[in-house]
Symmetry: C2
Subunit: 338 residues, 2 copies
């Protein structure tokens, strides 16, 4: 009798958990704090309240599972983007590696500057120059070869200040938020200005976000059969830029539904958040404001990386939530080895 009873309780518990994982209101099942790295306060309350309201069956703000789409920027929102976007660091390493195959780079910016360790003159090539560098160094190989190059680079390089792999320079509060949203039936997406195929090889392991839920910028790809073997060849030509006005377009093309929650950190995310919060019913738009020079970095209106200026001005009137890193995050990075 006791044995059967114990088994029944165990089965029921597993069943409850299993339903929770499939999207029931997991927050009701367990009483622990689902966001332990978020400081108590208005920001955390807004997030918890939003999730409670859109998952409450019969409530005025209820959204069925299908509509629970949450999109996150990556650079500066899920992982560190200072002192320079990791993908630019990757491209710089690729330039050095490929230089012998490209004698013309010795006299062309930004390649020349990089090869001469003169980053100031390389950066002077501006946005167009950096784009050209990314396109040139991310093409000319198959999809599989590029994936291997990305993974090899990530496993061999460390962030210059934090001295840990870039994939460990991710924000612990955001990892908790992603888990919490999924436990409440959300599909979590990355919508990044960065390269879609630079992200996909590792987002599932690091964020629990599978490749098919990553949207990003891309180069043109061609299908070819080489020596009887099908291959996808990456061409040195821009296909799509998933930034600013491009983000809602990328969402429309890849997801085909408007998110109900969008999280960014720069003016490049403003259109995504504007589009998300303009939808009917409850919506949540959030920005990470980098205010913590001690634990991470402090920056907003100035600079070449992650500029947050216009969106900061509009946030209050639009009801977008500004997450103050210093105030709202009790912890920034996961403990080493986590």
């Amino acid at each position: 009798m006791i044995n059967i009873f114990t088994k029944y309780i165990a089965a029921a518990l597993i069943l409850m958990l299993s339903l929770g994982v499939q999207g029931g209101n997991a927050a009701d099942v367990s009483e622990h704090d689902p966001l332990p790295s978020w400081a108590d306060g208005p920001v955390k309350s807004a997030i918890l309240g939003f999730v409670r309201d859109v998952t409450q069956e019969g409530g005025a703000d209820y959204v069925s599972h299908e509509g629970r789409i949450a999109t996150f920027d990556n650079d500066g929102c899920l992982w560190v983007e200072q002192p320079m976007y990791p993908q630019i660091m990757f491209a710089v390493d690729r330039v050095r590696e490929l230089a012998s195959e490209h004698p013309e780079w010795a006299s062309e910016q930004p390649f020349k500057g990089i090869l001469e360790d003169d980053m100031a003159s390389a950066l002077a090539a501006g946005k167009h120059g950096l784009m050209e560098m990314i396109v040139q160094t991310h093409a000319g190989m198959t999809a599989e070869q590029f994936e291997k190059i990305v993974l090899d680079w990530l496993s061999s390089r460390k962030h210059p200040r934090f001295e840990r792999p870039y994939t460990e320079c991710v924000y612990q509060p955001q990892l908790e938020l992603l888990v919490y949203l999924r436990a409440n039936g959300f599909k979590t997406y990355i919508v990044s200005g960065g390269g879609i195929q630079f992200l996909r090889p590792w987002t599932e392991r690091v964020y629990g976000i599978p490749p098919e839920q990553v949207v990003g910028s891309s180069v043109v790809t061609e299908y070819q059969v080489i020596d009887g073997k099908p291959a996808l060849i990456r061409k040195p030509e821009v296909n799509f830029i998933d930034d600013k006005e491009g983000k809602p377009v990328g969402i429309y093309e890849h997801i085909g539904r408007r998110p109900i929650l969008a999280f960014g950190n720069s003016d490049g995310d403003m259109q995504m958040i504007e589009y998300t919060t303009a939808g009917e019913g409850r919506r949540l738009g959030l920005y990470v404001h980098h205010t913590d020079a001690e634990r991470e970095y402090a920056y907003d209106r100035e600079g070449h990386v992650g500029k947050l200026d216009k969106a900061l001005d509009r946030a209050e009137e639009e009801g977008w939530i500004i997450v103050d890193m210093k105030r709202d995050w009790l912890k920034v990075f996961p403990d080493a080895g986590e």
Copy 2:
């Protein structure tokens, strides 16, 4: 005691089912035939054997959930494409509707032919002419407006021969296969030469495939804020053609993983199936061969719709499975009202 025991059995059963739905081997849980509209024989055995092998933990051919990607063409593979692709019928109706706004169409093919009920001269405009017709009639409105136009059309039009809505001219055996694959942990996708946004408004209801799992051809879309309201504006310009060599490219861009099962019915699907079956480990490539003029249509090497020619020649040497509609499908369409 009996009460507790009954509850325990019920909980355990629900638990088993719930695990099955999450991707366990559901075929083992129930003993009923998961594919009742498929005739017993080598084709059905090949499908059941494939699914059994890739879901058998510890087996040589085991594929984890993440890798269980199945892609299906739509026209002629999931729904009827004869006597003409439904999307072309939609575009023809759109031409008639929009004619007053386009006086130039009175003298331009294929528009002129359509407006004069002279389909032969309209079709003489060829592939380029039809593409131009699709692009012109699918653009110039917001994403939301287009979705409404598509749904209104589908609910008001019927297939000329079967006299039922196009969304009921879907293949019952394929509906069963989609459910069976998902019950075994597969993610099911549509990868269609047709318009991605023509499909997305209804694929979830009809096939259980959500919009984010639909890949297709597209027009250029622009994000604009009009009178303070964000909108995605569809432009009369081709963005991507998801056909032939385009299908593996569309899969790479949208899904980012190679499928392990691909199902098509025409030469337009050949590269998708070639790419899928060239991957390592167990793979399955399948073609619907339309051999049933009585219940549906019989066509392959000739004609303007769903030509199956080169792929039919290559199927045997490549080990691609040819599904003979007349022989392998006990039933073609769902019963009315199903």
